[in-house]
Symmetry: D2
Subunit: 464 residues, 4 copies
């Protein structure tokens, strides 16, 4: 398929080139194909860094980029026999026009050409610790450069982690990315709506329903809108299964009276969406379910309010935690006579028993997207503390300051496992509400709200 | 999930143990988890050999089996924190009862325990060339055995390929396997029917249709019947795309008047199904489409007729080739004045231009399942020939004799790329018809015929 | 240099071939060159197995041998430029005549030719765990064989340890080997005589003498008789240094009144000799020195007496231990009131404090030569015992039965470190007497006795 | 053995630390032990970089050094049992006092401690492409640092080649190094004198003499003066063997009337010396031998004259080449009517046929010592040229400017292989004269001239 918007990728390459420094050259392979069973492979997913710089989705491709912006692509050569079997290839002849790169060669020439391309550079930039075997191949090429020292060849004596540069770029989404992420969010929201409605409808019809029936709805809805598939393993968790954070949709029965937690989002042209909704299987919250749900919703609202430029990445989390902790005391999940005040609950992390994850993560090409969670300019301001639960010594550095163009999820939750000191009404309730937020000039925009979060709205939807 | 039918797996282990010989021990790891992007993984698929012997689907597990049938499992230990995050684990305490193995330990003890378990064995049997890094780990363990030579430890001095033993076992499906494969075939057939009908309906409705719309139907139908997903990348190829053999469903428009080729099958509890159908997008074959289709269907019928005990694996292929070659002459795809007689077309492989793949493959846990294509008892009867197209020297050994319990696909095809010497009416037509056959006492049973092949039946179906 | 006695090597290859079994093929690389510092290498030493089968001493060579005795050598190609720099190469053209191999190719063709040479074999035999990286290269070649399965190629499904076969062959020395080992022994004995005499002479002359002065004598004597150098790091240990078993000659002063222990032997055309003598630096044993020396000598005599066909490999050791243990009691090194009787001393290994090594080892191409120490036919007769010192459980298997043609060392010793409960007169005395024994029809032949062991003979020698 | 001069090593570490930059840390392992045959190892040689910074000669040691000069040593722990077998170990307790390092730990703790020591550093400096497997181990440690990112750990994102820093330091020898190199040179010169005299004496005595007899003299002389052994494989080449540049002393007969070329030097406490002399076996040059010898000597004199501060590294070579080229024309080795003028001979490299190596190399801890041959400040001034012989394109960069403290060899030669167009009188003559030069304030000092070069002086010496 031809690559649209090649100017977008060229601009990114130019921004990267400007950071490579004198004598610098960057090297980025795409991802390998992954075996599934025997000669059968998983659906191919390109490397996010490589795609960010090229828009190119074929496997077996590498990009080189030098400080002057000269880009060289290695890609699969045209080969009629192979293309009859495995499909169309762009090929190096067409690549410069199609992708805007300066030059292109067959991937078969990679080993032969790389030493000369790395020769006489002073520093080499590539993604550290990302592609198993990459360091070994680079060593092999540099070995050949060194072997030519007698002919005047210089070998790079510095290696830099490309991720450090690209992560910062990718953290701030450009217009092209935001457009794709909004579309992905829209498709995913629609799938959640459909699963909710289908769930209520089936149960009303008295039919036996299992988790995989709901997952089938999601898959269908993602794909029929042109998304390539789920951005991550869809979670469809009925009843107690919702208390397993990364539960995968399986075959458990979905029973009236229980909650269903769905955490699923499609990937569209490489970009992830990430939505969680929790709803009553039969379309109507019971009292304790509603109480717990309202609490998580309030925690999310507090997080949303804390998501705006100038705030830190950890602020939405702290806002959610404060709401959740108070709610745990109010609902009797925590006993104030034992755990102390709200501040004690927060400081001693008593809430962790029912809320054990962070409130969000960056979102983009990767569902847990790249980007430093520490503010770069303040990285040296370290304060040490001891975690009250694990006893582990932790070095705290100032959390990242939110800026327009960042995209993050806001996903507080509450997970109650049965225990003697917990009111039975809440046993096995697992709730999470997750939306995707784009940081804007003055606050944030939730791009996934085409599926409602208010309990009344969910109930209304499920009545249809 | 608990493993049903543990007696089935125990019986397989016993049969393998009996083949290990004096002092023999076998070692089988399951498959690794596969990265997709960043910390996001592909859906987990266990190793087929490991599953065949255990029925166990968790990652990070190994099986040891000695000549006396004593089996030792290494698996993920129980760990509440990890299970809150990643889900239920069976754990080594429960494994012996749940799986019928003799003993079980935590996978964390693998490196510590393996040297002692391999000590004083004379031969070690493991799957060669299947698990990258396995040979290295084995070398490490044997190194520790050798280091204990001073304490009287003996180290295996022979290593045997476990695949050679297990491939023969897996080639003959037992009742449990046939039952699963029939159910998988049934689900897949239903999905094909639904895609055909949806295609016609949508086009009748005047709606724009793309390949991914049809793929969405397949995914939905597989999953809602409890299949875990597609057994391989679904092919939904509209028009000329059908001439790319391993084309993957993409975004091409599906246009009335064109054929659509769908090659897709679900995987159910590890077992693959594999069906191909080709149909007119609008539900009605044109004349040349029908002629070509009838030819491929006749070729498949010839293959079916040749599939029975005592025949060779290559017999269905030769039967199909003979029908197809004659048809190519009859339809004018090949010019008899240039290529000669039917026998010349076959001998010189002129048909290869329009039919370039084999007519089938073993089917089972892997879609291209294991099993020797050469008859074991006749392996030394080699005859050399020169391939008329490539000039390559090929050693022919007698093809496998078909026996009851083998399962194979029968999938002739015809693929016509545009060319000056080819009638334009056939340009860009790609047709394949594939069914899954179980070899029975006196012939074969096609388990995928719940989706029709006769052109009239397809047209009837698509009218509904 | 041309290889003499090519018939000897051909006969060995034929004996090995006869053991490879149907479809068997053996693969043996020679040793790599070893880096010392920067581009500077250690003196090259070929692999002992490879040399045993070829007599060929160049690096970068491999031997293949099939069950029919067909042998293929890969070796360095003729190359005038390289030969101007690095010296003469035999080259593949001359190799068949010079070495008696069936065929020879350039080492540059190894990767290209190996897959075809391994194709259609049923088992592959190579030295396990001996050449780092070999397993990986073999995997690579077999990968190429497997990739040709479609052309009828069979891949070996069994791998056997070549060492198991060759170790047995090498354990029994043929006439050619015994001739070389006798010459090596003769040279080494001469070097010991010279070092003893030089030591006494220098000290008589009042000159300061250091260990390295004596090592220089050994090196000179080895090399001027055409030996390539020491077979192992020469031990020249003055005074207390003799209590460090693998001490290397260094710069310690050699003082009158102290003993000097020299353990050194040359390597001649690949074959090791191994002699230890202990002598008084000034040529005259003191009383305690003489007592201790006589004890070790008696222990060696007991070992010699126990070295004859039909005895076990461990018999000389047990004979030495019994003499030494009694002597330790007699000399007051062990206090019978504390350690009990002679049998207690042996059973509880009290002697280990002063005699902590075995009494000998096989000798041949390697100084610690290959060959099983367990009797092959009795390998299954295991008895377990607990080591009284370490508490380690040890599996005992019947020790090897001595047969004519085996060559082993006989080297009891006594090492006394200072301690409160040990008579000060023996402090820092370290004594070892080692000779090389060829097992003969009715006993053994000591081939290293051109240097005397009797204390009087040593004193006489050192007076000259 | 205790390390003397620990201040010397501390000063070097301080100079290196000052170059590591903010957040920098350096990591330097010593060399591994090298296998020779079976369990027998080559004499241990430490890594030159590691030794340069520590003076420590045990294997299994690593140095870490941070930007503030804090140094951490990992070394073999004290272990009485191991020390009884393998000798004294310094141990981490004694290391700080003995070596002047800030801290020391057991090598057994390396893997456990390294991640914490690399944490929160911004750049990591280690020797690139020098220690096989080092990159992999570093990746492993950094992987553990990255895994602690959640606890605030930062991982170095830059890797620098330590060699680039240390090579510059080592290029300029300090007083301690020059003192050692002078002593090594003195010992080697004495060995050459002795070999010459012994050669003449032996032949006068009518005895059969082989190359290894002369090598024995060298070994003896090196070792008895306390040198550890040869710094590189000694070349003792009789007659035509001298035309093989890296010939190793073997068993060729040394015949009266032939020349003998000896290229050998000892290594003393890690420092190499490197001397070549060529002399008539019987002590008297023939006419053509003398003519050729005088030519090489004149070439060396020209090289010596060109060795002074401000000259380039290539100047001595060019001076030698000019003299040699003129001599080749004068002696009739080159035919001026065919090859043209002196300038043509130089420009077209006709001289290469008889003089095919460079005139020298840096000398120090490594015989071909480290140090850039290109002037660092002028590295970007590249000029391309085509080699007239190979056709290879060569990038020339300005050659290194000589400065006081550099040590290099000056070793022109002449090698005449038989050919129709060469006067038979010169056939098989190979001559090289090599001395070690320290660049001084105003010129250079030859530290190896205790063995003469003048033909008359050699003849006089050999008469004694
Ligand atoms: Mn999320
Ligand atoms: Mn198929
Ligand atoms: Mn020994
Ligand atoms: Mn030199």
């Amino acid at each position: 398929a031809p690559v649209a918007h090649i100017g977008v990728y060229a601009a990114r390459r130019a921004r990267l080139a400007a950071q490579l420094g004198p004598g610098g050259i960057a090297l980025i392979p795409t991802a390998p194909e992954r075996k599934r069973n025997r000669d059968n492979e998983h659906p191919y997913r390109f490397d996010s860094y490589f795609y960010y710089l090229t828009g190119f989705t074929e496997p077996n491709a590498w990009l080189l980029l030098d400080e002057h912006g000269h880009s060289t692509l290695f890609c699969q050569p045209k080969d009629l026999q192979r293309e009859i079997w495995d499909g169309y290839r762009l090929g190096p002849e067409a690549a410069p026009a199609a992708l805007g790169v300066s030059a292109a060669h067959s991937i078969d020439e990679l080993d032969a050409r790389l030493p000369a391309l790395l020769e006489n550079r002073s520093s080499l930039c590539y993604p550290f610790a990302t592609h198993p075997g990459l360091e070994g191949r680079i060593d092999g090429w540099l070995h050949k450069v060194r072997a030519r020292a007698r002919y005047g060849a210089l070998c790079p004596d510095t290696q830099r982690d490309l991720c450090a540069l690209l992560d910062e770029m990718r953290l701030f989404k450009d217009a092209h990315e935001l457009e794709l992420m909004r579309r992905a969010a829209q498709i995913s929201a629609g799938a959640h709506v459909r699963a909710m409605q289908q769930c209520a409808r089936w149960l009303r019809g008295g039919r036996a329903l299992r988790e995989y029936h709901l997952e089938a709805e999601l898959l269908h809805e993602f794909r029929r809108h042109g998304a390539q598939g789920p951005a991550y393993g869809s979670i469809v968790a009925a009843g107690a299964n919702a208390c397993v954070l990364h539960y995968r949709a399986d075959a458990a029965p979905v029973r009236p009276g229980e909650l269903v937690l769905i955490d699923a989002g499609c990937e569209l042209d490489g970009y992830a969406s990430d939505i969680t909704r929790t709803f009553p299987a039969n379309g109507r919250f019971s009292g304790p379910q509603r109480d717990a749900y309202q609490l998580v919703l309030a925690a999310q609202e507090a997080a949303v309010a804390a998501t705006r430029p100038g705030q830190r990445f950890t602020d939405p989390h702290q806002a959610s935690v404060r709401v959740l902790a108070q709610g745990m005391l109010d609902l009797g999940l925590l006993d104030g006579t034992k755990v102390g005040t709200l501040d004690d609950v927060i400081e001693q992390r008593h809430y962790f028993r029912f809320y054990m994850h962070r409130t969000g993560h960056w979102l983009g090409l990767d569902v847990h997207d790249v980007g430093r969670y520490v503010e770069p300019g303040e990285i040296g301001q370290v304060s040490e503390r001891t975690d009250p639960l694990s006893g582990e010594t932790i070095k705290d550095r100032p959390s990242r300051i939110l800026r327009p163009g960042m995209v993050l999820t806001l996903e507080p939750g509450l997970y109650v496992r049965p225990a003697d000191d917990v009111p039975p009404a809440f046993w096995n309730i697992g709730i999470r509400i997750e939306d995707d937020a784009v940081v804007t000039e003055h606050g944030c925009e939730l791009i996934t709200r085409a599926v409602p979060v208010a309990p009344e709205a969910i109930e209304a939807l499920m009545r249809d």
